[in-house]
């Protein structure tokens, strides 16, 4: 095993900054119809998130959990309220995510 050269807190700080940068890039790429780059960036952000135990937080619902497409809302995903749930349908892969909410 390699010696840790960077403190855990510093690694997490960089990880969070990198995730923000990558998701911003993913959004821009998706807006300009370059979905394959966009998915790569989201995928890398997810891997960083898992590796350094830094939760996605506010970005959690901004991409498809199945195909990692960044949601640009009227364009590649729809949001509907059904039976007390927020239903997000990904138009890239057809995946349906449901999140409960309280009125």
């Amino acid at each position: 095993m390699s010696r840790r050269r960077i403190s855990k807190a510093a690694a997490k700080k960089i990880a969070r900054e990198r995730m923000d940068i990558l998701l911003q890039l993913a959004e821009n790429e998706m807006r300009e119809n370059r979905g394959s780059y966009s998915r790569k960036y989201v995928e890398l952000a997810c891997r960083i998130s898992m590796r350094y135990n830094t939760p996605m937080g506010k970005h959690k619902r901004s991409y498809c959990p199945k195909c990692r497409s960044y949601f640009v809302f009227p364009k590649n995903a729809s949001v509907r309220l059904k039976n007390g749930r927020i239903v997000i349908t990904c138009a890239e892969c057809g995946n349906v995510s449901r999140y409960p909410f309280k009125r």
Partner: protein
């Protein structure tokens, strides 16, 4: 954010890069925006075409803000998500 000395651990995708020296003369002077990264390659967008640059063979200069930062390719020869822990 992406600061001096920390760049090897930070995100390279989206930065402008130039090859300043290389073991292969054809790579020297290649310039463009980084669009993808693997363990051994940097993929840059050069006038609309993708160019793959081997990290091991090149010395890069990244443009961060208005500064240029030089990084040996061998220093960053790790998977992009591993660089945070493993660089230096």
């Amino acid at each position: 954010m992406r600061s001096r000395g920390d760049l090897g651990r930070h995100e390279l995708i989206g930065l402008e890069v130039e090859v300043v020296s290389s073991t292969h003369p054809g790579y020297v002077g290649m310039k463009g925006r980084v669009v993808d990264e693997t363990k051994r390659m940097l993929v840059i967008d050069k006038d609309g075409g993708e160019k793959r640059l081997p990290k091991r063979a090149c010395v890069f200069e990244f443009i961060v803000g208005d500064k240029r930062e030089r990084i040996e390719g061998t220093e960053i020869e790790f998977r992009p998500e591993d660089r945070i822990k493993r660089v230096k």
